[in-house]
Amino acid sequence: MPDIPLPPGFTALKLTQARRAFESALGAGKVFFEDLDRVGYHDKFAVNDTAHLPAGAIGPTTVEEVQAALKVANQFRLPVWPISRGKNLGYGATAPLMSGSVVMDLSGMKKIVFDEEFGTVLLEPGVGFYDLYDYIQARKLPYWLSTPGNSWGSVIGNALDRGVGYTPYGENTKNLCGLEVVLPTGEVVRTGMGAFKGAPTWGAYPFGFGPAWDQLFVQSNFGIVTKANMWLMPEPESLMGMDVEFDRPEDLKPLVDVIGPLRRERVLQQSPSIGNWMRAAAVATRRGEWTDKPGALDGSVIDAIRKRFGLGWWGVSLRVYGREAVNKASYAILEKAMKAIGPLSLKPTTWVKGQPMEFSGWTGTPITFPMQSANWYGGRGGHIGFSPIIPQSGTAALAQFQRTYARYKEYGMDYQGSFAFGERHLVNVNAMIFNKDDPAMMARIDPFFRQLVADAKAQGYGEYRTHLDYMDLVADSYDWNGGALRRLNERVKDALDPNGILAPGKSGIWPKGQGRRK
């Protein structure tokens, strides 16, 4: 039997005692400490398979059971790593940051309370996008989801990790409206109007009175979110837009500078993403179909990919949602703007309520097939992403692309990059697809990633989200005033989690005496 990963300061006997205490609190059917369970909660896309190994897992299904589990964790000073559904592949998925932690799997918490009049929904963390889609379909409710490209995961888990979707409600974390949170000490709090006993407006007004705490529990280890209200988009009367291709790498600059003002002005209310040819190739095909040459793809292969799929060097899809009369006016503005910068192709698309619907992310339909890109190199594929926040400027975007593309070539990796709009920023998503059965490639991933972090840091660009391996590295890059934000986070952590049992190291936040605070 392989050795069981132990938390710092633990013996196998102490872990067994903690396991029995969990069984007593939750029932043996919700406690998972077999070898197969440690396989089950491993990070499938890990670059380093020897890191982030859980000791076991527990699966509370009620708020009271979450409290009971935390009581055991505090009693034994045992680190617990909560996951909603653990499908954020590329960021760590089901695995804990610190080996020896016990995963708290909230997949079994699947309650949905839907306000059909106002389009708000109170969700537990185990509710996946497919579950909520199914709920809406079964009841024929006039609302659309905002789904990410891998919709296997949890709706509120995605929002709590600042994931994004394709519709005007695409910045999912902004659609949180009041949470229920179990603090590390076991106390349950509700934020926003949920703090007001009996208020019918918990899902309607996000702030309540006084400080608003929702974002305190996003990408943090300050509490376990057991319920969250979210807003859903009313089904629009009309959806219009266009898919536009551009021929040259340099076209990125005018694209950003033309789309940016339209986004800021809110003619565009969803967040377009400018991406390169690789996305189609990596989903539809494997690399071996194109070339057997090592190193980054050369120009002839890129040309062949573009030709087969009818792509430019960059492509972008723009969509407008809502009343048809408004959309027609907005569409005309967008079309004029795009044609003015010389697209390679421009393909309009239109839909009106009652017509057959396109089942894609544009209509809030859950999807998983984009994850086929993990199979690009063959073998046991995976990916991580490097995603710095950069200014919404064509000059900045082009320079960032040129720097990053040069690094992909230097490290011999195929470039899959995109520039996704927020209202005032761009997220430059760089996917690193890899083959875990290629040791030489895998040895390049970590130095490559660290190089990109350093390059971005030199420009003042920091990541918005990262894999378990790089949480300390990225947190350290937020270094104004000697890392004042990190020190604040640590003070909050020490106050809320005096025993340091909840998700040590999450987002670079360590309890006193652990990790880099030893």
Partner: protein, 119 residues
């Protein structure tokens, strides 16, 4: 599967990258088969997102085996299904017991082992 990606809507990391119209089939969930029970209902709830007509698992299996839809396969052994699901395979992550219980997994495996199922 080429038709699924002809318009290429895909994701890198967590950020949306989309391009082109995507003539995709509607996802299959429990709502699409309201009379489903037992292993079939559990399959729709826990597996169809990847192994339905528009799923990652179907797309990847189509590269090496036909039919790619698990429900249309014959000769899938229940023990094999459970072993693959619990350990993961290829690009498929393992399905842990906190997500799908042993009893649920057994019912799903039994349903697939009884296939192929006509649609």
């Amino acid at each position: 599967m080429k038709r699924l990606v002809a318009g290429a809507v895909l994701l890198a990391g967590a950020a949306a990258i989309a391009q082109g119209p995507a003539p995709l089939p509607k996802p299959e969930t429990r709502a699409s088969r309201p009379t489903a029970t037992g292993g079939e209902a559990l399959y729709l709830e826990h597996c169809a997102m990847c192994h339905g007509p528009n799923g990652m698992g179907t797309g990847l299996l189509a590269r090496r085996v036909q039919p790619a839809l698990l429900e249309e396969r014959k000769g899938l052994g229940a023990a094999f299904v459970i072993a693959v699901a619990r350990n993961g395979i290829g690009n498929m992550p393992a399905i842990p017991r906190g997500e799908v219980s042993d009893a649920e997994m057994k019912a799903i495996a039994g349903y697939l082992a009884a296939g192929p199922h006509a649609k």
